[in-house]
Assembly symmetry: C2
Homo-oligomer: 222 residues x 2
C-alpha cells in the first residue's frame, strides 16, 4: 500500500480541512487522486484549470490513506483519505508511482470503487495504467503517455488503446497523453461541461495556448 | 507575515527533510518560494520542467516560516523555512497572495536577501510584483502577467516593464508573463544553462509544445 506512515518529525501538521468551512453544496467536486511518485504537472495542470472556475468546481486532493504524499518532483502535498471523498469528477494523474501501484490489489480495488462512484473520470499520462487495472476501461477508447504507451497498453488489452491522440473522450471517460496533454484534456472537459467559451476564458486567464484538437498529437510514435 | 501558525489538527505532519538523505553537492539548487495564495501552475510548471533534469537541479520548496502553505487552487504544500535555503536558482511564483505580500515589509526584506544570494532569479506572473518591491529589478527589463500588468508596473516605475513579451531575460533575471508562460521561460533558462537540446529533451518528455520565442506573446494587451 502507498502512503507509508511518516515519522512525526515536524511541528507543522497538515491542516485537517481548512477550506471545509465554506462548503457550497451546488459545487461539483473536482477530486484529484495523489500518491507517492505522482507527476506534478499531471495533477497541478488540471487543478490550475478547474480552479479557475471556482463557481463550478470545488477542488480536493486525496490519497489512499490521506496525509503527505510526495510527487516525482519532490513536492509534498497534503491529502485527505479517499474514504472522505464525495463523488464528482475524479482526476487520476500518472507518474513513476504508477509502476508499483498497478500491482497493488488493495489500491486498485479502492480506486475501482472511487471511479464507479465518479460522474466523470479523467486520466492523465500513465494514470490510465491504474484505471486500466480496475477493468472499468474494458471496451472503451483511451490513450496514454506516448513514451510509456506499450507498457500501459500491455496491462489490459481489452481497452481500445488509441496510439495517436492528444486526448480521447469515450462518454464520461477522458484520457490524455503525457503530462502537459492533461491541460488540453481538462479544457476539453470544461468545454463539454460548461461550454467552449468558458474553456477559452480559462485558457486566456492562465495565458495558455490551448491545443484544442484531440487528434493533433505531435508526440505520437507511429 | 504569511504562514500563520496552524492548529495541529492532524496526525500527519510535514516530513522534515525526506530527501535530504541523498544530498549531491554537485547539484544546483532550484529553490521555489511558496506562500499562501500562490498560483499552483506558476510554481508547479517550472518544478515539472526542472525536475526532469535531476542530474542538474535539486528541487526544494520554501516559505517564510516553513510548514504548510495553501495555493489559490487549495493545494496544501509542505515547505521548509527560507532560513534553511541554500543559494541557487530562485523561482518566485505569482498568485492572489502577492496582493498583500507586496505591503509586507518583513517579507520583502527577507525576499531581497534571498534574491541577492541567488545565482539566477526567475519570476512567473505576478511574482514580479514581489521582486519589484525589493528594488533589485530597478533599471532592468522585465515583464509580468498581462491582465495584472498595470498593477504590477505601478509598484515600481524604475523597472523597465516590457508590455509585450512571453518572457524577458535581463542577465540573471528571467521574468515571464502569466501562469503558463512560466513553463516557456523555464525551458529558456534551461536552454541557456544546459543547451537547447536539453530544453527540447525535457519538452518532449512532458509532451509540451514549447513556445520558444520570447516575443511571441499572444496575450499582450497593446
Amino acid at each position: 500500500m502507498m502512503n507509508h506512515p511518516k515519522e512525526p518529525v515536524s511541528d507543522t501538521p497538515c491542516p485537517k480541512s481548512p477550506h471545509l468551512d465554506s462548503v457550497r453544496v451546488d459545487l461539483v467536486r473536482f477530486n484529484i487522486l495523489l500518491f507517492d511518485g505522482f507527476e506534478t504537472l499531471d495533477a497541478c495542470g488540471p487543478a490550475e484549470i478547474a480552479g479557475k472556475a471556482p463557481d463550478r468546481y470545488r477542488l480536493g486532493y486525496y490519497s489512499m490513506r490521506g496525509g503527505v504524499v510526495t510527487s516525482a518532483q519532490k513536492l509534498e502535498a497534503c491529502t485527505r483519505p479517499l474514504e472522505e471523498m464525495s463523488p464528482g469528477v475524479l482526476l487520476i494523474p500518472g507518474g513513476e508511482g504508477t509502476r508499483t501501484l498497478v500491482d497493488d490489489a488493495g489500491f486498485i480495488e479502492r480506486l475501482r470503487r472511487a471511479a464507479l462512484e465518479a460522474t466523470v473520470v479523467l486520466t492523465v499520462c500513465t494514470g490510465a495504467s491504474l484505471l486500466a487495472k480496475t477493468n472499468l476501461m474494458d471496451g472503451k477508447n483511451a490513450t496514454t503517455n506516448k513514451i510509456a504507451f506499450d507498457w500501459v497498453a500491455s496491462l489490459n488489452p481489452r481497452v481500445n488503446w488509441i496510439r495517436r491522440g492528444r486526448w480521447v473522450q469515450d462518454g464520461a471517460l477522458f484520457s490524455s497523453s503525457g503530462v502537459s496533454a492533461g491541460m488540453d484534456m481538462t479544457l476539453a472537459f470544461i468545454a463539454e461541461d460548461r461550454g467552449v467559451e468558458e474553456a477559452e476564458r480559462i485558457a486566456g486567464r492562465i495565458e495558455y495556448l490551448w491545443n484544442r484538437h484531440p487528434d493533433d498529437d505531435p508526440f505520437a510514435i507511429s
